[in-house]
């Protein structure tokens, strides 16, 4: 077989695999969209929170999985988005799309202001800097009376869409959050597949080599930091749209750590894996915890240890392994 034929053979596999992926994606989307029709208000509300949290987890994955920068600071931008959306909701308009845009801009601007320091470092130093940023923003939220200080920000009216009536039913809020989360997921997927995504993976794998090829990695790292801030801010706005209450706890260390944990469990670098991780983490913390006498964090810790030992590349790595084995057999 000549080289050209082999290239074609490799390309020939791709359309079939892409078609299979598209079928799975459409099926998952239909199931998610149908959820409010069959489930009660409480499970739907849980799923809404999972979706908003998954958007935050995507932003962590963009930094940690794609660019190789483990972070504990994304909850700060998530919180900036949530508080901004809530303030817009209380003082300006109940239109959810305006709140979403405001949350996005808030996350982007906060990340742009604080990221310039963080992206100069790598590895553990970067992790500590993002932790410091996260704790500082948390401290501001906890003490600043304009945003309710430690009482949190309450009194946000229900969201409306395109001038319609207030969305009071959990199902309608869920559909709005689902639609927005899907758009964010698609946007992040596009970034990951684009030349910029390739640049980011290059930085993750071998930064010295990138410089030797003429790249300025610090610039690309700053870019993705701002982008991840915008994604996290969007997630925060979605969180606020559902909860209609934001407290300093929503941007605390625990949220940041759980987001990073979701990425590790799901498989850093994959996009759907960390979303599954987000679902698992929130379900264990909020739902399973009561069943095990409030020891949810203990269960999460055990899950984390099990994943690190049994699935070093997360849930997504497990799926990739099964796919490879199937191809090897056929």
């Amino acid at each position: 077989m000549s080289a050209a034929e082999r290239t074609q053979a490799v390309d020939g596999i791709r359309p079939r695999r892409t078609a299979g992926k598209a079928v799975v994606a459409v099926a998952v989307l239909l199931l998610l969209a149908a959820a409010p029709l069959v489930l009660g208000a409480y499970p739907v509300s849980t799923m809404t929170r999972i979706l908003a949290f998954a958007v935050l987890v995507l932003s962590v994955d963009l930094l940690t999985g794609v660019t190789g920068l483990p972070t504990l600071g994304q909850a700060a931008y998530f919180g900036a988005g949530a508080y901004t959306a809530a303030l817009v909701g209380i003082h300006l308009t109940s239109d959810a799309s305006v709140q979403l845009l405001a949350g996005l801009v808030a996350g982007l601007v906060t990340a742009a202001l604080t990221g310039w320091v963080a992206v100069r470092a790598r590895g553990v130093v970067f992790l500590m800097l993002t932790l410091a940023i996260g704790e500082s923003v948390h401290q501001v939220a906890d003490t600043w009376s304009v945003v309710g200080a430690s009482n949190g920000l309450a009194g946000m009216p229900p969201i409306t869409l395109f001038g319609g009536p207030p969305l009071l039913a959990a199902g309608f809020v869920y559909w709005w959050v689902l639609a927005a989360a899907v758009v964010v997921f698609a946007a992040v997927a596009l970034v990951v597949r684009s030349p910029y995504g390739r640049t980011l993976r290059g930085i993750r794998d071998n930064e010295a080599r990138m410089r030797a090829l003429g790249y300025r990695p610090a610039l690309a790292r700053y870019g993705v930091f701002c982008l991840a801030g915008a994604v996290a801010g969007t997630g925060g706005a979605l969180w606020a749209a559902h909860a209609r209450f934001v407290s300093p706890g929503d941007l605390g260390f625990e949220v940041a750590a759980l987001a990073l944990l979701s990425v590790v469990i799901g498989g850093a670098g994959s996009l759907w894996g960390p979303c599954l991780g987000a679902a698992l983490v929130l379900l264990v913390r909020d739902n399973l915890s009561a069943a095990v006498g409030g020891h949810g964090p203990l269960v999460l810790g055990l899950v984390f240890v099990a994943v690190v030992f049994l699935l070093p590349r997360g849930v997504a790595g497990l799926a990739a392994g099964i796919r490879r084995r199937k191809e090897g057999l056929s």
Binding site: T7, V10, L190, P195, Y196, D205, N206, Y215, G269
Partner: protein
């Protein structure tokens, strides 16, 4: 003809140890220049100082007529001064094609675009594939770079460097750790490179050196011992003495006791 690369009194010291001391060297456009010398002669340090990986302690690096001594590595690379590493340095978590495309997309100025999927940038993809083919890695594009053998990674590095559109390529011990067959394939690959491309090669394998190089510079204890055509170097007594080990190694420590 003005040299493409000119070093004037280039010096690099690590504390009291002067690894490279006052090296003068010029490489003409299109020349295949080999840098040899026993272990510890300062070849790799000289290399890193020319590429900008390490800053020079003293002296000047002129590239294409301009003083680039103060420029960081990335800026030198953008001017066409590209290097490879002694231990192959590729993007192991990326596909083979992505490795080369990273170099191409920087040259095509699309490295920060995220409005479309990478494979929709047809010109970049085609160029990356062409470079993969030219080093004999066509058909491996979809494989992860981690799946390549040592020799194949070296081939991939050549494709990456060529894709960055260099005028001078510096190879740091490219055949180190290669089998005889891999070395042969690599030497043939270098021989096929376009003749207008200037090469500076650090190499231990003297067969490869005398096969590829027009000119050879011998480095010993951080200084230029001899420079000339392959024939002149082969006949040089001082070079022979350096290689056969009659030199006193305590000359390495020029600063004396601190």
């Amino acid at each position: 003809m003005t040299p493409l690369l000119e070093l004037r009194g280039l010096t690099r010291a690590y504390g009291s140890l002067t690894a490279v001391s006052g090296v003068d060297l010029s490489v003409l456009p299109g020349e295949r220049h080999a840098l040899i010398g026993p272990n510890g002669a300062g070849k790799s340090t000289l290399f890193a100082t020319v590429a900008g990986t390490l800053p020079a302690t003293a002296g000047t690096v002129l590239f294409d007529g301009a003083d680039v001594t103060a420029l960081p590595e990335a800026k030198r690379a953008r001017r066409g001064l590209l290097r490879t590493y002694q231990h192959s340095s590729v993007f192991l978590g990326c596909s083979v094609l992505d490795n080369v495309a990273l170099a191409v997309q920087r040259v095509h100025r699309v490295a920060h675009r995220f409005d479309r999927a990478a494979r929709r940038f047809r010109r970049t993809e085609a160029e990356a594939l062409r470079h993969l083919e030219s080093v004999g890695l066509a058909g491996r594009g979809a494989d992860p770079a981690a799946a390549l053998s040592h020799g194949e990674r070296r081939q991939l590095e050549v494709a990456m460097v060529l894709a960055a559109e260099p005028s001078l390529v510096m190879f740091d011990e490219p055949t180190a750790g290669m089998s005889a067959a891999e070395t042969e394939r690599f030497a043939a690959l270098v021989e096929r490179l376009p003749s207008e491309l200037t090469l500076l090669i650090v190499e231990h394998d003297l067969d490869v050196v005398f096969r590829l190089a027009d000119r050879v510079t011998v480095l010993h204890l951080g200084q230029v011992l001899a420079s000339g055509t392959a024939e002149q170097i082969r006949a040089d007594d001082a070079v022979r003495a350096a290689y056969l080990g009659s030199a006193r190694t305590d000359d390495l420590f020029t600063g004396g006791t601190p």
